[in-house]
C-alpha cells in the first residue's frame, strides 16, 4: 500500500493549533541565524481522515494476540487484559510530570512501590529497580551491578559464563558491561554441562547468566549443583526471567539461589508487546547487591512514598524512573490473579506446551525427548531431505491463519538446529491448540508431498515472501519520492 508520503497533498491539513495571539514578531529575529531554518521540513501534508484511514489500513496488515494464537517461543505472547489498558490511561497518571514534587505523585509512587512488593514475594528477591526498559536493558543493568560489586570489593572480575542455549542478549549485555562472554555447553539432557561449568568457573568469573526453564523449555534439574559451583567461587547467579511464566507460584528464583533477576513484565506479566515494545525489564537483587541499584528507587515510611538513592549506585540507565504504564499493567495483572491465579497460569502454560509437544513430536522431532515446561522445542530437520526448510514451515503456517513460532532459536550444536520453539501460554484454549496442531500436521504432510507449496509460502498474506537480501544490497531506508533530497533542499 502507499506510504503516507504518497498521500500527501500540498496545503492539506491534519492539525489544529491554539489561537496565536502573540505579536507578529518575526521568528527569525529571535532564533540565531546559525540555527534558523528558513523553510519548513518536508513532512507529508494529509488530513486527519487520511491519517486515520492510513493507519487503520496499516493495522490490518498486522497480526496481534487478539487475532489468534501467537506461539512465539521465549516471548510469552499472552492475552493483554483490556482493563489494564484502561487503568494505565487514567489522566492523573498519564499527565504526571517526572519532575513534579513527590507530594504530587504519591499515586504513581504507590504503584511502583506496591508492584515491587509483589515482585519481591513472587521472586524471593530483596529489592527491585523499575528502571530498565526491556529485558536486555535489565540484563545490562544487572551485570553492571555485579561488575560494580566486584570493583567495589577491590577485586574486579572479567568473565561472565553464558550457556550456549542463552538468548543473544545475554552475551551482548555482558559484552556491553565489559565482560568477556564465555560459552558453556549444554549437556545431552538439555541442561548446563556441569563438568564444563566446574572447569570454567573461577575467581575471575563474575558469574553465570542462566535462563531457567531454559530456551529449550527445560527446567535445569541441576540447579542446586549449578548454584553451588558458582557461589563456591564467589560468583553470582544471574536469572534471565524471560521464562518465569512456567514457575509462577512454583519456584522463586531467589529461593533457588539466584542473586540477580530480571523480569520481562511484557512477557510473564501480560503487558502488551506493542509491536516490539515498550516493555519493562525490572531487576531484583539480593541484599549484598542492593546498594548498587540504579538511582532512584521508591521507599515508603508507612505514610508517604519517596525516592531514595542506593549508596553505591551504578547510576542511571535512562532518563527517568520506569516505563510507568507497563509497571501499572503488570501490577494490575498480579492483583487480578492473586497467588492461586499465578500458579494456575504457570500450570496451564505447562500443560498447553506439553500438549502441543505430545501431539506433534511424531511429526517434528523434539530437540530433547522429555516433557517440557511452558514451551517446547521441536525441529524441522526431517523435512530437509524434501527440500523444505524450517523457514518454509513457518511461512506456510501463516496461510493457515497462525502466527508462526520462533524458529532457528535456540541454535546450538548438536541438539538445537532447525528449531521450532512453541510457547502457547495459558491464554490458549485446547480448541485453538487443536487447530494449530492440525495445521502443523497438514504442513508435515505437505512437506513430503508438495514441498513447493511450502517453499513458496505464504500465499494468503498481504505480501508474499520478501527479499531480505535485496534490502541490504540496495538499501532503501527512507521514502525518497521524486523531489526530496537534502542537497536539493539546501540549495533552494
Amino acid at each position: 500500500m502507499k506510504t503516507i508520503y504518497e498521500k500527501s497533498v500540498k496545503n492539506r491539513t491534519g492539525y489544529s493549533l491554539p489561537k496565536d495571539y502573540f505579536s507578529e514578531e518575526n521568528i527569525s529575529n529571535i532564533i540565531p541565524g546559525y540555527a534558523f531554518s528558513s523553510k519548513e521540513k518536508e513532512l507529508p501534508e494529509v488530513s486527519e481522515v487520511d491519517v486515520i484511514r492510513h493507519f487503520t489500513k496499516l493495522s490490518k496488515l498486522n497480526y496481534g494476540v487478539d487475532d489468534g494464537l501467537y506461539p512465539l517461543g521465549s516471548c510469552t505472547m499472552k492475552y493483554n487484559p483490556k482493563i489494564n489498558e484502561k487503568l494505565a490511561n487514567l489522566d492523573n497518571f498519564i499527565y504526571a510530570h517526572p519532575f513534579a514534587a513527590e507530594d504530587y505523585v504519591q499515586g504513581s509512587l504507590q504503584i511502583m512501590y506496591e508492584l515491587e512488593k509483589a515482585l519481591k514475594e513472587i521472586t524471593g528477591m530483596v529489592r527491585f529497580t523499575m528502571m530498565p526498559a526491556a529485558g536486555a536493558h535489565g540484563e545490562l543493568t544487572g551485570v553492571l551491578i555485579i561488575k560494580k560489586y566486584f570493583e567495589d570489593k577491590g577485586k574486579p572480575r572479567h568473565k561472565m559464563l553464558i550457556p550456549d542455549s542463552a538468548h543473544g542478549t545475554n552475551p551482548a549485555s555482558s559484552a556491553m558491561a565489559g565482560f568477556k562472554a564465555i560459552e558453556v555447553k549444554s549437556d545431552e539432557r538439555g541442561g548446563v554441562n556441569i563438568n564444563e561449568l566446574e572447569k570454567l568457573m573461577d575467581e575471575d568469573t563474575a558469574g553465570l547468566m542462566l535462563t531457567n526453564p531454559n530456551t529449550v523449555g527445560l527446567f535445569d534439574e541441576n540447579i542446586e549443583k549449578i548454584t553451588e559451583i558458582v557461589h563456591s567461587k564467589g560468583g553470582f547467579l544471574y536469572y534471565d526471567g524471560a521464562n518465569l511464566n512456567a514457575l509462577l507460584g512454583i519456584v522463586r528464583p531467589g529461593d533457588a539461589g539466584f542473586d540477580v533477576v530480571h523480569l520481562n513484565l511484557h512477557k510473564t506479566f501480560s503487558t502488551p508487546h506493542g509491536g516490539g515494545g515498550p516493555g519493562a525489564g525490572v531487576i531484583g537483587v539480593k541484599e549484598e547487591l542492593e546498594e548498587f541499584l540504579p538511582s532512584p528507587i521508591v521507599g515508603f515510611d508507612n505514610k508517604r512514598y519517596f525516592f531514595e538513592d542506593p549508596k553505591k549506585s551504578i547510576g542511571r540507565v535512562r532518563a527517568f524512573y520506569a516505563n510507568f504504564p507497563v509497571i501499572l499493567k503488570a501490577y494490575a495483572w498480579i492483583l487480578s490473579l492473586g497467588a492461586d491465579g499465578l500458579r494456575n497460569a504457570a500450570e496451564t502454560s505447562i500443560i498447553n506446551a506439553n500438549y502441543v509437544l505430545a501431539k506433534l513430536k511424531k511429526y517434528y522431532k523434539p530437540a530433547y525427548d522429555r516433557t517440557c515446561m511452558h514451551e517446547c522445542v521441536l525441529t524441522g530437520r526431517e523435512y530437509k531431505e524434501y527440500g523444505v526448510k524450517t523457514l518454509d514451515i513457518a511461512k506456510r503456517l501463516m496461510d493457515y491463519g497462525f502466527h508462526p513460532p520462533t524458529i532457528y532459536f535456540p541454535h546450538f550444536e548438536p541438539y538445537a538446529e532447525e528449531t521450532i520453539m512453541i510457547e502457547p501460554t495459558e491464554s490458549e484454549s485446547k480448541e485453538t491448540l487443536n487447530q494449530f496442531i492440525e495445521a502443523m500436521i497438514k504442513i508435515a504432510q505437505e512437506a513430503k508431498t508438495q514441498p513447493e507449496i511450502l517453499n513458496e509460502a505464504p500465499h494468503n498474506t498481504p505480501v508474499g515472501r520478501l527479499d531480505e537480501v535485496a534490502a541490504v544490497r540496495n538499501p532503501k531506508l527512507t521514502f525518497k519520492g521524486q523531489l526530496w533530497s537534502l542537497k536539493k533542499l539546501k540549495q533552494q
Partner: protein, 460 residues
C-alpha cells in the same frame, strides 16, 4: 509466604484470562501421557519449590481492581488541569486523540517485533515512514527509529562513536541533560572511557574551551541543542572544531519539537544525532515510555545499534518492508553485536508516525513557532516585572531566570494549578536560585498573562 499444602488444588480457581477448564486440563494431561500435573514438574527439585503459597493480596474482581486504581490515581494531582512550567527533558505538548485511537488498535499494541514480515507490514511500513520523517527533520540518511529513550540513545551513540573511531575519550557538554550525562557515564564505565566536561557560560557551551579540550584522542563531542537550559547552540562551529581533531559530533536533541524550526543537524555537519521523540505524540507518563532515536550518515550504518526497516519486494515484485541490516543485532551476532537491544519502544514509532503525519510540514513548523513565541513572551513579561533576573541567550521553549524566592514561586504556581519550573540547583549547584521554565503550545496567551501577573505582580 503462606503455608499451605494443597496448592495445586487451590490453583483450580476459575480465571477469565485462562480459557482451559479444569476438566480440559485433566483431559490434556491424559493425552500428554502423564498421570498428574506433578509429573510435569518432576524436574524441579523439591528443595527449590515454594513450600506454601505466595503471600499476595486475594485476587480482585475487575470492578474491585478499578476502584483500587482510581483511588490510587487520585493521590496524584489532577495533572490534566495542572499545566507544567517544567520541561527539562519531558514536555507536555498536545497529543491529538487520533494518535491514541490509532495505537489502541490491537493489531498495533498486541503484536510483537516484526520477525515475520508478511504479517507485520503494518509495523514495518510504519517504521519506514517514521524513519523518513526523522530523516527529513535531521537531514540524516540512516535512522534507527527506536532506542528506549533519549538518554540511552545518547549512550548508544557514544558507544557507536567509540567503535567507529577506535578512541576512548569523549567530550561532553555540561549542558547535556544531567540524566543523559549520567546514563552515558553508566554505559561507558565498563570501558573506562575518559569523559571530559565541556564547560558553559551565558547559557551556552563554551566553544572556545572546546578548541583546547579536543585532541586527536577524542572520539566524539557530545553537544545537546537546544541544551538543557533551552539554549540554541552553534553546532556548526562545534563541528568544525571537532572535525579538525578527527572527532565525531554527536548532537543530542532532547526536545525534538525544535527540529520543526531549526536547521538540519546534517547541515551542521553533525555525524550522529541522538534524539528523544517524546514531544512527538507521547504523554508524560511520569517519565516513560518515551522513545529515543539515532540518526546518522550512511557510512556508519554497520555500527549503528537497533532495529531498522528497509524497503524491498516480494516474489511478485510487490513493494514490502523488512527489518534490515540485521547482522548488527544481538540475536545474530551475540557478544559481537552493535548493542544488546532487543525489545525497544516500537509502539511509540506508530505514535510519532501518526503525530508527525497529522502535524505535517506546516503544522510542525507552526507549533515550533508557537513554542518560541510563547516562551519568549513569558520570558519578556517576567523580566519586565523586575522580579526576575536573567542572562540573555538564544533559546527555544525553555529559559532560566534567577528567582529571589523559589519556594514562594512554587507555592503561588501550584495554588493556581501550574506545576512549577525546575530548580536548576538540583543539578547545577552554581545555579542556586535559578529556575528553568518551559513553555509549550498548551499555554494560551491568557495563561501566560496570568502567570506573569502572578509571579511578577501581586506576589511579594
Amino acid at each position: 509466604m503462606q503455608k499451605s499444602t494443597q496448592i495445586t488444588e487451590k490453583s483450580k480457581t476459575k480465571m477469565r484470562y485462562i480459557p482451559n477448564t479444569e476438566k480440559q486440563k485433566e483431559e490434556m494431561l491424559k493425552e500428554i501421557g502423564v498421570s498428574s500435573m506433578g509429573e510435569l514438574l518432576k524436574d524441579i527439585p523439591s528443595s527449590v519449590r515454594i513450600k506454601g503459597k505466595l503471600n499476595l493480596p486475594e485476587a480482585l474482581s475487575e470492578e474491585e481492581l478499578k476502584e483500587k486504581f482510581y483511588t490510587i490515581s487520585k493521590k496524584n494531582l489532577d495533572f490534566f488541569s495542572y499545566k507544567p512550567l517544567v520541561g527539562a527533558g519531558a514536555y507536555r505538548h498536545t497529543v491529538p486523540e487520533a494518535v491514541k485511537a490509532i495505537v489502541s488498535r490491537e493489531e498495533f499494541y498486541t503484536s510483537y517485533t516484526p520477525y515475520q514480515p508478511e504479517i507485520s507490514q503494518g509495523n514495518l511500513q510504519s517504521m519506514f515512514e517514521y524513519q523518513t520523517h526523522i530523516s527529513r527533520l535531521t537531514g540524516m540518511e540512516v535512522v534507527v527509529p527506536s532506542i528506549y529513550d533519549g538518554a540511552s540513545a545518547t549512550a548508544e551513540a557514544v558507544l557507536m562513536a567509540l567503535r567507529i573511531t577506535h578512541k576512548n575519550k569523549i567530550i561532553v557538554s555540561q549542558l547535556l541533560h544531567p540524566h543523559y550525562k549520567e546514563t552515558v557515564g553508566t554505559y561507558t564505565e565498563p570501558h573506562k572511557t575518559e569523559i571530559i566536561q565541556l564547560p558553559y557560560g551565558n547559557g551556552l557551551a563554551n566553544i572556545e574551551k572546546l578548541e583546547s579540550l579536543a585532541d586527536d584522542d577524542t572520539a566524539c563531542v557530545v553537544i545537546q541543542s537546544p541544551n538543557f537550559l533551552g539554549g540554541i547552540e552553534d553546532v556548526k562551529q562545534i563541528s568544525e572544531i571537532a572535525h579538525k581533531k578527527g572527532a565525531l559530533v554527536v548532537q543530542v536533541v532532547a526536545e525534538s519539537m525544535s527540529l520543526g524550526l531549526l536547521k538540519f543537524p546534517a547541515e551542521m555537519d553533525v555525524d550522529i544525532v541522538a534524539g528523544e521523540a517524546q514531544s512527538f505524540g507521547m504523554e508524560l507518563n511520569f517519565g516513560g515510555p518515551f522513545n529515543g532515536y539515532i540518526a546518522s550518515k550512511m557510512k556508519f550504518i554497520r555500527q549503528i545499534p537497533g532495529r531498522m526497516a528497509g524497503e524491498t519486494t516480494d516474489k511478485n515484485g510487490k513493494r514490502g518492508f523488512v527489518m534490515t541490516f540485521r547482522a548488527r543485532e544481538q540475536d545474530i551476532r551475540r557478544e559481537k553485536a552493535t548493542s544488546n537491544i532487543c525489545s525497544n519502544h516500537a509502539l511509540n514509532i506508530v505514535v510519532s508516525n501518526a503525530y508527525l503525519s497529522l502535524m505535517g510540514k506546516v503544522g510542525l513548523r507552526k507549533i515550533a513557532e508557537y513554542n518560541v513565541k510563547a516562551a519568549h513572551y513569558l520570558y519578556d513579561k517576567l523580566l519586565e516585572s523586575g522580579k526576575f533576573k536573567s542572562i540573555s541567550y538564544p533559546f527555544f521553549n525553555e529559559f532560566m531566570l534567577y528567582a529571589h524566592n523559589e519556594s514562594k514561586i512554587e507555592k503561588a504556581l501550584i495554588d493556581n494549578k501550574f506545576i512549577p519550573p525546575l530548580r536548576l540547583s538540583t543539578f547545577y549547584p552554581e545555579l542556586e536560585g535559578y529556575m528553568l521554565f518551559s513553555v509549550t503550545e498548551i499555554f494560551t496567551k491568557e495563561n501566560l498573562d496570568f502567570i506573569a501577573n502572578l509571579l511578577g505582580g501581586q506576589m511579594k
